[in-house]
C-alpha cells in the first residue's frame, strides 16, 4: 500500500485523522507548523464540560501516533496547496494522492477591540491568558484571602461585524462558564459576573454546567455587552454596559476583566483558497462541499477537511471529523 496522504496540521483533528488512516493501513504524514503536536490543546488547562485535563485527551492520541508509526514533520508550515501536492515554507514540495486540511483556527486578537483596553490596561486579560494562568496555578492581581470582583465578557471577536467576525464561535459561552467556576473555586471570596448577549450551551452536559455555575457557585449573569472599559486610578477596571433585562445603563468596577476571545479563521486559509475549488465563507473559514452531507469534502476530489478549519467546533466534533475524513480518503484512494 504505497499511497501518500498528507495531513496539514497536527491538532486533535489532524492527529485523529492520521490515526484512523494508519489503522486502515495507510501511512499518512502529518505536517505541523509548530514544534509539537496537539494544536490549541497544548494551551488549555482543564476542558469543559468535565474539567478533564487537556493532557488526558492529548496523551493517548500522541501514544497512538507513536505506536502506529505515523510520520510527523514538525516545524514545517504548508504555504501552498495544489490538488496533489503541498509546498512548505522552506520551498520543499511534497506530492500526495490525497490531502486533508486540518489547520484549525486562530484565537481572535483582542487588541482589535481597542475599547476593552487589552494590552493597554494591566488587568484586562483574555480567556487564553487565563488558561495559562490556571496552568501556572495563580491568576494575576487576585488574592485568595480578600474578596475580588471579576467580570467575564462573552463574544469578544464573535458576532461582531465591526471586526468582520459575523459568526458565533460556539465554544466561548461554555468556556466562560467553565472559567467562572474555576475562578470561584480558586478564589472562593470572589464575585464573578458574566456579561453575555445569549448563552448558547450547545453540547452534551453544557447546560448542566451552566446551571451548576448559577446554583452551586452563584455566578452572576448579566445580559448586556460591555461597551467600554477604563482604568481607575488604583488600576482597577471600570466597565459600562446596559443591563438589557432592566433597560438601564450599568457601571461597575472590577479587579479583573476577562475577555472570552472567539475563534477566527486560520491564517493559512487565504493562501489555500487560491486553489480552484477551495472557497471561504464570510468569516474566512473554508466552506465544505455541502454542510449536511459532505462536510469533510471539498470541490477538489483529492482534498478533504477535518476540524475547526471549516467552522468553530469543540474537541469531540473535531475528532469525529478526523475519523470521517479518513473514511472519505480511504474510499477515494480505493483502499
Amino acid at each position: 500500500m504505497n499511497k501518500e496522504v498528507i495531513i496539514i496540521g497536527g491538532g486533535v483533528a489532524g492527529m485523529q485523522c492520521a490515526i484512523s488512516l494508519a489503522e486502515m493501513g495507510v501511512k499518512p504524514t502529518i505536517i505541523e507548523k509548530s514544534d509539537k503536536l496537539g494544536g490549541k490543546l497544548n494551551d488549555w488547562y482543564k476542558l469543559f464540560p468535565t474539567f478533564t485535563s487537556a493532557s488526558e485527551v492529548l496523551n493517548p492520541l500522541k501514544d497512538m501516533i507513536n505506536e502506529l508509526g505515523v510520520d510527523v514533520k514538525l516545524s514545517s508550515e504548508v504555504t501552498k496547496l495544489e490538488p496533489k501536492s503541498v509546498t512548505l515554507a522552506d520551498g520543499t514540495t511534497m506530492s500526495a494522492d490525497a490531502i486533508v486540511i486540518c489547520s484549525g483556527f486562530e484565537v481572535f486578537d483582542a487588541r482589535l477591540k481597542e475599547e476593552y483596553g487589552y494590552k493597554i490596561y494591566d488587568n484586562v486579560i483574555t480567556s487564553v491568558d487565563l488558561e495559562r494562568m490556571f496552568c501556572e496555578g495563580s491568576v494575576q492581581n487576585l488574592d485568595k484571602n480578600s474578596p475580588s470582583r471579576i467580570a467575564i465578557l462573552h463574544c469578544v471577536g464573535s458576532r461582531d461585524e465591526k471586526v468582520c467576525q459575523t459568526h458565533c464561535s460556539r465554544v466561548c459561552c461554555v468556556a466562560g462558564v467553565k472559567q467562572a467556576i474555576e475562578l470561584k473555586e480558586l478564589y472562593p471570596k470572589s464575585e464573578i459576573f458574566n456579561f453575555y448577549m445569549d448563552i448558547r450551551m450547545f453540547g452534551c452536559g453544557y447546560e448542566e454546567l451552566y446551571k451548576e455555575a448559577q446554583i452551586k457557585h452563584n455566578i452572576h449573569f448579566v445580559r448586556g455587552r460591555i461597551s467600554e472599559a477604563a482604568q481607575t486610578i488604583d488600576s482597577k477596571i471600570q466597565i459600562k454596559s446596559e443591563d438589557t433585562l432592566i433597560g438601564r445603563p450599568l457601571k461597575m468596577t472590577v479587579d479583573l476583566l476577562v475577555l472570552m476571545v472567539g475563534m477566527s479563521a486560520g491564517k493559512s486559509n487565504n493562501s489555500f483558497a487560491t486553489t480552484d475549488g477551495i472557497n471561504l465563507n464570510t468569516s474566512g473559514f473554508i466552506s465544505p462541499k455541502n454542510i449536511f452531507t459532505e462536510c469533510v469534502s471539498s470541490d477538489v476530489d483529492s482534498i478533504f477537511y477535518a476540524g475547526t478549519v471549516t467552522a468553530p467546533k469543540n474537541i469531540g466534533e473535531s475528532i469525529t471529523e478526523g475519523v470521517a475524513a479518513a473514511h472519505k480518503v480511504a474510499k477515494f484512494i480505493k483502499l
Binding site: I215, H220, L245, I246, R248, L250, K251, M252
Partner: protein
C-alpha cells in the same frame, strides 16, 4: 424662587454603591432563583402583566442588582395566581419568591 430647573439623578445602576444585603439574603433563602434564564415565560403568562407594566422578571432582576425602590408597589399588583410557576422552565417557586421579596422589603410587618 423656582426657576423650573432640577438636577437629574444619574440613571446608572451603581454597583459600587448599591446595598446588596437584602439581595443576598433572598438568594440564600431561595437559591433556585439564581437559575433564572430570563426567558420571560412568567411575564408572558401573567394576567397582571397583561394589563400593567408589572414584570416579575424585571422585579427580581432589580432585586439582584440591589435596586429596591418601588418594587413593593409593583409586587402588590400580583394576584398570586401561580401561572408563572407552572410555566417556569427552571422550576422556580415564583410565588415563594414574590412572598419572600415582599417580606424582606417590609410588607407584612
Amino acid at each position: 424662587m423656582s426657576w423650573g430647573y432640577t438636577i437629574n439623578r444619574a440613571r446608572d445602576i451603581d454597583m459600587d454603591r448599591n446595598d446588596m444585603t437584602i439581595s443576598k439574603l433572598i438568594l440564600e433563602k431561595i437559591p433556585s432563583l439564581q437559575g433564572c434564564i430570563a426567558c420571560g415565560a412568567c411575564v408572558a403568562t401573567c394576567s397582571t402583566g397583561a394589563l400593567t407594566k408589572y414584570s416579575l422578571r424585571k422585579v427580581h432582576t432589580l432585586v439582584r442588582r440591589g435596586e429596591y425602590s418601588g418594587l413593593l408597589d409593583e409586587l402588590n399588583k400580583c394576584m398570586l395566581c401561580g401561572k408563572c410557576q407552572l410555566v417556569c422552565p427552571r422550576g422556580i417557586n415564583t410565588r415563594a419568591v414574590i412572598s419572600l421579596i415582599k417580606r424582606e422589603l417590609g410588607d407584612h410587618r
